[in-house]
Symmetry: C2
Subunit: 161 residues, 2 copies
DNA sequence: ACTTGACCGTTCACATGTGTACAATGACCG
DNA sequence: CGGTCATTGTACACATGTGAACGGTCAAGT
């Protein structure tokens, strides 16, 4: 269904660019909601699962990632990571470990509980993601990825800083 | 640039579906940040501008929209609208007006200040949106809109609720 | 008229995001 | 060595989002 009908708008969009932009926002947020519902049974959010997966698949030599590394991989402000790790530490999913040689960083590592949760959730999560993306055939999926890359690329180049 | 490089990931994505999903999230959030920077000079956020535009272009016969109508057009929880309107009322952009005949609703209307702000910002905002979407030719834009519609459509149908 | 149920706005606790500022630490250069 | 600058985590105020619960109001059926 067209976005206009979904939102119940009385007047049409003025420009395809604006419709596409709002479509991006709403699609991302609706998908996020769906995944959050799916994950609620496991007591985590999509952001927390994303962080767990990063620790699992992207960990460095010392078995973890610093908060700054995590913030870069999640494209969020590093200030944000502090409270996120606080919550996940309270849930027993991750631990802050000092890094010998640099007392500025705290390396974040998965706890056994965190690993267990990943093992329990991962398969179903991948299936859910596949289901969500199922309306797009492989060809469209590749096309979508390419277009999103192009959009973010445009944000990086044009306009200084 | 591919998402993997932008995030600095050491390992590739396991599935195109997952890459597309994270691409959607990150593209939406990066665009939102860009627009927020653009709007900061005017003292509002992208969410607030969106609400102003809804009031301007989608208002009903009585010249405004109720909070529930706004929440539906913005695809957010109605609980969220209360504090949003509180802030915008404090800024003098909108007003809560009682609706004769139904004491449950408060109709939200633009104030003269709100109208002035729209007049001041609208043109530049449309230009900014066009710039952001510029990497995609018209053909791709239509394709993107179609794919996003299909994804949201898939969320609505499959699964009860 | 009265119950019953739907609807609307509000409030609460919470999660996530921003920008700013600060203290501690590390790195580097003269 | 010592000053300077960058990096890291944290704290704060704020904006936005959720779900749950509550009270007031309307509408509809008995």
């Amino acid at each position: 269904m067209a976005l206009r009908d979904e939102l119940g708008l009385r007047a049409p969009f003025h420009a395809p660019a604006h419709e596409a932009l709002l479509g991006l926002y709403h699609t991302a947020s609706q998908i996020k909601k769906r995944i959050d519902v799916f994950l609620r049974a496991h007591g985590i959010t999509d952001v927390q699962l994303n962080l767990l997966l990063l620790l699992h698949y992207q960990a460095g030599r010392d078995g973890g990632l610093t908060q700054v590394e995590l913030s870069r991989m999640m494209l969020v402000n590093r200030a944000n990571i502090t409270s996120l790790i606080d919550r996940m530490e309270r849930s027993g999913l991750v631990a802050r470990v000092g890094r010998p040689g640099d007392r500025r960083c705290r390396v974040i590592e998965l706890t056994p509980g965190g690993r267990r949760l990943i093992a329990k959730v991962e398969r179903d999560y991948a299936r859910e993601v596949a289901r969500i993306m199922a309306p797009l055939p492989a060809r469209d999926l590749a096309s979508l990825i390419r277009m999103l890359d192009a959009l973010r690329g445009g944000l990086r180049t044009r306009r200084r800083r």
